[in-house]
Symmetry: C2
């Protein structure tokens, strides 16, 4: 991402989330120069686009970067890099399809490229994070759902219509009794997402009569973070929940290794903040499950991107790709 | 693969199989000009290489192609395109690793590239078969084992060490009680290979007391072809065996669709000769299992390459890739 000319080059990275939209000016080394935030929830998508563009103009004016802007990159759920549209996003307040790229491009005049949030994460890891210099890796984004970005032989896989890398919807026997929002059973995201961890918590508390601090938390206040904190404080059931989740991720990662012979599989997103609580059982299960060809060649690791800025940095690196 | 210059260009394709090695001169349109065959079984690999090179020289002399040879492509089990070596091939009579590419190049003076047999099949389908014009497809090779070649965004996936695409070793619950040669349980190839079909036959005959013509065949004479012929003749158990195998392939293909958003998944190799016996239940199970995103977008089909020449044609197209 380094810039060889005398004039520094900047991009705008936008992370369109279900609740808030974050955006920033980012330099070619991945430093955030100026940042902004708007709520995502508006009645009409045009209103949101107006707000975003006003916000971007504002941070450009507040900085002294002049007009050295290479383009805008947006990471968004169900964003299709080929068409520039958001397609069938269930987590956004507006009706799909949405011509996201052209809506922003026509308002600001900067070339705008979009991709789904998991692909943005993979590109961000490659540009500034745990995957610098790697040509073969998989990023698993563990958030509300589970997404993935697959880089193989130096290319981010897109597929026929831009829908490559839906590894969160690969099915596994460890989740065969869990229903997914997609209408099928057994998807990885029914276990390894935030929602999956809450479901595991509900089941583990119900199936055991062991004491647990988790029993004192009202159900609507339970979160993966609360379970994580309980585990760190020594709560056995909370530890078992992360152990189970990590082991499931390890078994899944063992299968994924057979697809692209990766150097690394990287965990990204809110649920991955549990760190070693998740990574240790994941590594154990991976070694036990994986085909011998890949046993000692795949590094399992956590995102190398700073928590809050990860998605923005991934999006900001999009304009450099073409 | 078409050649724009006035001089026609040819390549040599070599298919190194466990029993015999076939080779041919192939023109840029995929026509076989001249063909040869030697036994693979020799005490030393050098002896085999000498025989192969003598055979290749012989067919060059018998044809009138002059010296317009662009290179040699070899498809072989466990061949690594990056290193030019055969690594840990259990089906060959010689000790691995074998510096295959350099052994042939040094003897004949033509640039020699190698790849594993499943990748050769994928390249062959793209060059001359069912995948002409496709940029996203998966070839599943159903033979002694199950291999795969994955083409995504126009690239054949290689991975860190050339071991991408081991989809025959992805594990599934439908095979959870079957042991694979790799030491794990549940690999797709324990069901969808020739060996897998024989194991299914053994189980189905044991578990049922229905009459079946398969009971009259001595176990060592049973083959996927014999089961196929019995199914075509109306044998219910033989039909059930292919129905089961096809349904397993459909469930597996549904998972594979989530990886690369392919336009097609193509069956190649001996077991796929069962045609609709396999393809019909495969399509049904695929539609029932696949994520809605891919439901009507993936064509499941049989290899478009002529049976005996498929592997040679795939190998012959390798020299055009770089």
């Amino acid at each position: 991402m380094q810039n060889n000319s005398d004039n520094p080059v900047y991009t705008i990275g936008v992370d369109l989330g279900g609740t808030t939209t974050s955006f920033a000016i980012v330099d070619s080394l991945g430093n955030i120069i100026e940042k902004g935030l708007i709520p995502t929830r508006t009645d009409y998508v045009e209103q949101w686009a107006d707000n975003l563009c006003a916000g971007i103009k504002n941070i450009i004016e507040c900085s002294d970067i002049g007009d050295n802007i290479k383009g805008i990159g947006i990471g968004a759920p169900c964003a299709n890099a080929y068409t520039g549209y958001i397609e069938a996003a269930t987590d956004l307040p507006w009706k799909s399809p949405i011509p996201l790229a052209s809506m922003i491009e026509s308002r600001l005049g900067y070339r705008t490229v979009i991709t789904n949030d998991a692909n943005a994460a993979a590109i961000g890891e490659m540009a500034y994070g745990s995957a610098i210099g790697l040509k073969n890796f998989i990023v698993l984004t563990l958030g509300t759902g589970v997404g993935s970005g697959i880089v193989c032989d130096g290319h981010l896989l897109s597929g026929t219509r831009g829908f490559a890398g839906e590894l969160g919807h690969m099915t596994f026997s460890f989740a065969s009794d869990r229903e997914c929002a997609c209408g099928r059973k057994g998807c990885l995201q029914t276990v390894a997402s935030a929602k999956g961890i809450l479901e595991t918590t509900r089941r583990f508390l119900q199936e055991s009569d062991q004491p647990s601090s988790l029993r004192d938390i009202p159900p609507h206040e339970l979160s993966p973070l609360a379970v994580q904190q309980a585990a760190v404080a020594g709560d056995k059931i909370a530890q078992d929940i992360y152990d189970f989740t990590g082991r499931c991720l390890g078994k899944a990662a063992a299968e994924f290794a057979s697809i692209t012979d990766p150097e690394a599989i990287i965990l990204f997103g809110g649920v991955s903040k549990a760190g070693d609580l998740l990574l240790k059982p994941m590594k154990e299960a991976f070694s036990q499950s994986v085909l011998h060809l890949y046993r000692d060649t795949v590094k399992l690791s956590l995102s190398g991107l700073c928590d809050a800025d990860a998605a923005i940095l991934g999006a900001a690196s999009l304009p450099y790709l073409d």
